[in-house]
Amino acid sequence: MTALCRCVIPQAPGLDEVPLAALVDEKLAKNSGDGYRDHRLPPLRDAWRTGLAALDNESRARFKLPFASIEKPAQLALLAQIQRGELKGSAWQGMPSNLFFSERVLHNVCSAYYSHPRAWSEMGFGGPANPRGYVRVYSDRRDPWEAAEAKPGNEEKALRENRRAR
């Protein structure tokens, strides 16, 4: 799962890494689905169990190594085949691999990533406006709680202003 997440959303390993595998695992532990399911996919937990096992199975068949141990280019090539729905072995138990990729892997991993404040900071989103609301809704204005953008050459000014952003 960790290796798969690192393929979908590459991050520099370390303390700043959003713990994607743990977040998806928490969702699976709680079995908290989306409230709807494509009938061609099994329930949340079964889809992940089957999909991860099939992925590992394919990797072992080709490289005699589990998915997490093969080289990154080989991992990506394998995932590209899954994305195109080209893998159909018995390990998939009839689950279309392209649907597993788009509706489980992408959906769950990307949702986990973009629910994390670190991902918001990366793209300059200060988090939901609730309960303060947006007041200064004009072009190039921001509310007092929003961080100023550190445009090239303006980094120090932005840093100074952002000490006041609450």
Binding site: G33, D34, G35, Y36, D38, H39, P128
Partner: protein
């Protein structure tokens, strides 16, 4: 995560949480198990909650059921998506067919208040011509009632649900909502839109 409300029912002992006050309560009628009541509402969303309220105001004995929690919005939510997920009704629905539709996990609410706990106070009115979709637009079905009849009900429901939006609607007839009660009716003949004219001439 703050989820006490999901484990301990709060609307009991003749009181209910006051969602506008931190830690506040407000009185609520409670009926013993063996007492007959006039109405039992199943679900307290935009339909059941609104109707139950109106019936109770008219003096009927009303009991309302809801599967979800009675949240205190000022205290129990961090302002992020993970906390908001506590409001969603995510019991599994299967999307069938050759081209299964993708729903959202926030399409339905599971809380006292139903989807009105997270509907962003948006509830759009039908356009007049959609009430005669079959005969005017060639698809769907004609509704068995006139759009002008609905316009007064829209005004009432929008008041009851405290929806946000324009004072004057961009379609249909204009109405001065600030004048309580008489509003929709008096504006009726004054400001007929072109669409209304067209509908009336048919």
């Amino acid at each position: 995560m703050l989820d006490d409300a999901q484990h301990h029912p709060r609307g009991k002992n003749d009181r209910a949480p006051n969602v506008f006050r931190v830690g506040g309560w407000m009185p609520m009628r409670e009926y013993p198990q063996n007492e007959a009541v006039d109405f039992a509402m199943v679900g307290t969303g935009a339909g059941g909650g609104t109707l139950g309220c109106r019936l109770a105001e008219k003096g009927f004995k009303v009991v309302a059921f809801d599967a979800g929690a009675w949240w205190r919005p000022l205290e129990e939510f961090a302002s992020d998506e993970t906390h908001q997920a506590k409001l969603f009704w995510t019991d599994e629905r299967i999307c069938d067919g050759e081209n299964p539709i993708k729903l959202g996990n926030n399409d339905s609410g599971k809380a006292v208040g139903g989807s009105t706990v997270h509907f962003a106070m948006v509830s759009l009115r039908f356009r007049p011509e959609w009430f005669k979709a079959r005969s005017l637009l060639g698809y769907g079905a004609d509704w068995p009632l006139d759009w002008r009849e609905m316009w007064d009900y829209y005004a009432q429901v929008e008041q009851a649900l405290a929806i946000s939006g324009p004072v004057n609607y961009p379609w249909g007839r204009s109405a001065r909502r600030s004048i309580a009660g008489a509003s929709a009716r008096c504006a009726c003949d004054a400001g007929q839109s072109r669409t209304a004219e067209r509908l009336r001439n048919r």
